[in-house]
């Protein structure tokens, strides 16, 4: 097995949360994604063993969901919304700006493994359209200028923890609703920051 002991321990804890082992596949795949930035064949084999199903059954599940990446991703996963509310609020422009800045097409990762770009469907920020997520942390009310600034900032600062509030304050605009609370927790890597996956990070 190619997962270290602490990951295996984490995995076993996750499995215990569910009445049936197989239910844990979802979180285990997030865990795998947090390890490698994608779902490697190796991780697939580990999960198949942990849950007691075949590798191809795991793969059948992992390829169904768009957040489990089949190819390695960069440090920052830039997901720009292209669904209806964003579409009619110029999301095309935002997409073009990000493509230009990164030089990437949909689902591509740059050579430095810094950015992965994708145009995605609605991320539930339609009131603040156009919107995007960086490593699943949302920024709303984007303009082209601010989007470029955001990308530049990411490239220059290369923050380890991505925090929605920080990005929103510096680069965002109209919000879907009042976020109200100052939150200092965020994520690292192309996986949602969530306690169960050990991917939540506080900014010092």
């Amino acid at each position: 097995m190619s997962w270290n002991d602490s990951m295996i321990k984490q995995a076993k804890k996750i499995i215990k949360m569910y009445p049936q082992k197989r239910s844990a596949i979802g979180p285990l795949l997030h865990l795998a994604q947090s390890k490698d930035g994608y779902i490697s064949d190796d991780s697939t084999a580990v999960i198949s063993e942990l849950v007691g199903i075949t590798e191809v059954q795991v793969k059948s599940v992992s390829t169904f969901y768009s957040m489990y990446k089949q190819e390695p991703t960069g440090k920052y996963l830039l997901s720009v919304c292209k669904s209806i509310s964003c579409e009619i609020n110029n999301s095309k422009e935002i997409i073009d700006v990000v493509k230009d800045f990164t030089g990437l097409n949909n689902n591509e990762t740059d050579e430095n493994d810094l950015f992965t770009f994708e145009a995605v469907e609605c991320i539930g920020a339609c009131g603040g359209a156009p919107a995007m997520q960086i490593n699943y942390e949302t920024v709303e009310g984007l303009s082209s200028e601010n989007t470029i600034k955001l990308c530049e900032w990411l490239k220059k600062e290369q923050p380890d923890v991505i925090i929605a509030e920080e990005m929103q304050d510096n680069f965002g605009g109209t919000k879907s609703f009042d976020w109200a609370i100052k939150d200092q927790s965020g994520t690292t890597g192309s996986v949602p920051g969530f306690q169960t996956f050990n991917t939540t990070k506080e900014k010092k």
């Binding site: 949360m17 569910y18 009445p19 049936q20 082992k21 197989r22 239910s23 844990a24 596949i25 979802g26 979180p27 795949l29 997030h30 059948s60 599940v61 169904f64 969901y65 768009s66 957040m67 489990y68 997901s79 292209k82 669904s83 209806i84 509310s85 579409e87 009619i88 609020n89 995605v120 469907e121 609605c122 991320i123 539930g124 920020a125 339609c126 009131g127 603040g128 359209a129 997520q133 699943y136 942390e137 949302t138 929605a164 109209t174 879907s176 609703f177 009042d178 976020w179 109200a180 609370i181 939150d183 927790s185 994520t187 949602p192 920051g193 969530f194 306690q195 169960t196 996956f197 939540t200």
Partner: protein
């Protein structure tokens, strides 16, 4: 027009800390659950919910009391909260998760008490990382306080609650697909019959699946009685509802209102009108799956039945305004392409049909259309949703396929010239 704040009251009044258990409790939170568990009975809860006449907020609008009544007897039963909110235009559950997770947890406790359930899950879409963290923190706090786990509020009741993250699949909002997903399978909708969740749900055991907003309403109903809830709104659409307003409006956002006023009023007063004083060309009354209304139909009332009588649906409560400058073919393409991308691929008409529609629309939108494409679009639609009527007939397993038909029929019924104008008229053969 004013909002009526039931579910969003606490968060409005306590913007800084509405998500924390102390704040929630200071304002009377968990008292209703405590009282219900100690003094109430399951029958009584069910009765109140039935009297309230609340209908599901996930899209289908099924009466919640009736649904609970269908839950089959079994030693193991489950509650699954549908927080997969992915219908384009919709962001109402997000605010409830992010800003008032304890209200949802309290609703879950009462629901499980009523339905004699000891295991509940909240299935949150994977992209909602921040809301999920807040909910997980809230769940941890509730465990610490003894509001979850064994002998809740020192009663006989036990309840375990797991927060489960999805991974990017709109179809998992469909309740049976959600159950498959929660079982660690592909998020493919199950056949109904025979797999009705209330009978054969999670792990083939009877399961309640309810939307975040639906269950978040439960504490209010139990605190204030079903009768009081029933007084709000109009018959058939009782209570309040959180509408997500987006598109070309001055003040987009979530608004909690009693159902019954018109879309026009709503947009003018709460949405503060259309940007730059433009006119509305078309609008979507209930999420991307819903057929559109024209700009001259703004007087339709925001109730489940009024919208249905006008051949669309209130669905997830997402209202998207499109002003006079909107390129509707691109708008329709965006929606069709959404459904094509989100099709699970199980059934032939949806898997092949939605992609084909996307291809044809793409051709038309970019000026490469053919004269025959309008008929072709409609005929392909007809093969997914025979008769193109409302509510849709379907050749598919679930309503996702037919959802892709809605924007096209809207386009063709009301804005056909706009499509035709994009098709080169003189095609030399």
């Amino acid at each position: 027009m004013k909002e009526t704040l039931l579910l969003t009251k606490h968060m409005r009044e306590n913007p800084e800390d509405s998500h924390l258990i102390d704040s929630y409790e200071k304002n009377g939170g968990y008292e209703t659950a405590r009282k219900t568990l100690i003094n109430g009975s399951p029958e009584n809860v069910l009765e109140e919910i039935k009297v309230s006449n609340i209908r599901g907020r996930g899209g289908a609008g099924f009466p919640t009391g009736v649904k609970w009544g269908f839950l089959a007897e079994n030693e193991d039963r489950y509650l699954v909260i549908n927080a997969d909110e992915s219908e384009p235009g919709t962001f109402k559950d997000r605010i409830l998760l992010e800003r008032d997770p304890h209200q949802l947890i309290e609703g879950i406790i009462i629901t499980c008490f009523a339905a004699n359930i000891e295991n509940a899950f909240i299935y949150i879409r994977g992209e909602y990382a921040k809301p999920a963290r807040r909910v997980q923190d809230a769940v941890d706090q509730a465990y610490q306080k003894g509001y979850l786990g064994k002998n809740i509020f020192n009663s006989e009741m036990n309840l375990d609650l797991v927060v489960h993250l999805g991974a990017g699949a709109y179809i998992c909002g469909e309740e049976t697909a959600l159950l498959n997903s929660l079982e660690g399978r592909r998020g493919e909708p199950r056949l109904k019959p025979p797999y009705f969740p209330a009978v054969k749900g999670l792990y083939m055991k009877p399961t309640l699946v309810n939307n975040v907003e639906t269950i978040s309403s439960v504490p209010w109903i139990m605190e204030n009685t079903g009768k009081e809830y029933n007084k709000l709104g109009v018959e058939g659409s009782t209570g309040t509802r959180i509408f997500s307003l987006s598109g070309h409006v001055n003040n987009p956002g979530n608004y909690e209102i009693e159902m019954g006023s018109s879309f026009g009023e709503f947009v003018e007063s709460l949405g503060n009108g259309i940007r730059n004083n433009k006119k509305v060309k078309a609008y979507i009354p209930g999420g991307a799956s819903a057929p559109w209304f024209r700009g001259d139909q703004l007087d339709i009332k925001m109730t489940i039945d009024d919208v249905a009588n006008n051949n669309s649906m209130l669905g997830s409560g997402a209202v998207v305004m499109m002003d006079e400058d909107t390129n509707l073919v691109n708008a329709a393409k965006s929606i069709v392409s959404f459904f094509a991308h989100e099709s699970c691929g199980q059934c032939t008409p949806c898997r092949e049909g939605t992609t084909w529609l996307e291809m044809i629309l793409d051709r038309v939108a970019s000026g490469r259309g053919r004269a025959s494409d309008i008929d072709l679009l409609l005929d392909v639609c007809d093969n997914i949703s025979p008769g193109l009527s409302w509510p849709p007939k379907m050749t598919t397993i679930c309503p996702l396929g037919p959802s892709a038909v809605s924007p096209i029929t809207s386009l063709m019924n009301d804005f056909r010239e706009e499509v035709e104008s994009l098709i080169p008229t003189k095609v030399l053969l």
